[in-house]
Symmetry: C2
Subunit: 185 residues, 2 copies
DNA sequence: CTTGCTCTGTACCAATCGTTCAAGTATATT
DNA sequence: AATATACTTGAACGATTGGTACAGAGCAAG
């Protein structure tokens, strides 16, 4: 029978939203207890390392999701264009037309980056490399594939920034569709 | 004769760096006093509204700089391509190949955005409109000019995010030169 | 020197920060 | 049922937060 109590893995998405909405510094323990519904004691039971461990676990969780849903298909799917199309659908759904922040990108812009430097770097490194791989298999020569991949991943982050700044979901979709055109053969 | 004492306008760049490096929440008054060299008393003399007024003044200062150095030339320079070229040079210098964060973009990604919503929105709105204006005068039809402008301004923000995430100034320059190609006739 | 004003450092405030912990309740094992 | 382990609670800790109060430093004008 399913456990009624909370498991560590159940808390991660709630933690993620808390960090997304308030940032690492802004997500105080009171905010976190409120958004997760867990008391301080429970949180420190699951994450003895405190806030830093919570954020690290969230980053790991996010990275694992992207690896499974996006990066791995980009690298190994035989139909490269299909994997790229799937990426675009996942990106729009995941970031909710720019209403939802990319936690890794947000960390990268603050001094929180230093604390989680390797996770932040790895996330984008893998995304760019996986996309370049798919673009290569899809017919672009290697150098061009690398350039497009960097351009596209950067553009996604910028689209999120602008859409949030201007509260304009349409802006997000327009920028994304411009980028998407760069990934079609 | 030049005043030896500090003026409000002298503090703004120092304040800007403090907010850039630590974010709005992370820039505590102890951090701010350290980075500006001013005691609490002086800071509250210049900015009676406290931290919120400091950040607002910094945003206003940044906006004014961009308006004068970049937006206005984009709108009124008779040689549109020259104004666009000048924009690219200013962008590379100002953001120091992605080593320096865009404060407005960083605010946009945190919940600090809500506090300074109109300033954050106005900054990007004006940048996009001014760039679209220049692209139009340079020969692109209106709709295409708008699309390119959004794409380019988003791309700049993304380039900063990625360059910081990966600590890779080369990445910034590569993405920028890709974007720059989109603004050439 | 006196007066008046701008500027500055120190001490202090209540509030909140992240973290700890002893005591408790629930669940699993025997 | 008895015991052990997993989880939860909420109060309390010292440190730090943003903000205030205020006396004095520095300087200019009279």
């Amino acid at each position: 029978m399913a456990r009624l109590v909370m498991e560590r893995s159940d808390v991660l998405p709630l933690l993620g939203e808390a960090f997304r909405e308030h940032g690492y510094e802004g997500a105080s323990l009171s905010v976190i207890t409120k958004q997760t519904g867990l008391g301080r004691g429970s949180l420190y039971h699951f994450f003895p390392g405190g806030k830093a461990e919570m954020a690290a676990a969230v980053l790991e969780n996010i990275e694992a999701w992207f690896e499974r849903e996006i990066f791995a298909p980009l690298r190994s799917e035989t139909d490269a264009q299909a994997a790229i199309d799937a990426m675009w659908e996942a990106v729009s759904a995941y970031f909710q037309s720019g209403q939802r922040v990319c936690l890794v990108g947000a960390f990268a812009l603050s001094d929180t980056r230093d604390r989680f430097a390797s996770a932040v770097n790895a996330y984008f490194e893998r995304w760019i490399e996986a996309l370049a791989d798919a673009l290569g298999r899809q017919g672009h020569d290697g150098e061009r594939a690398d350039a497009i991949a960097e351009q596209v991943v950067a553009g996604i982050q910028g689209a999120i920034t602008l859409a949030r700044a201007r509260r304009d979901a349409g802006l997000f979709e327009r920028v994304i569709s411009g980028l998407r055109a760069m990934t079609e053969k």
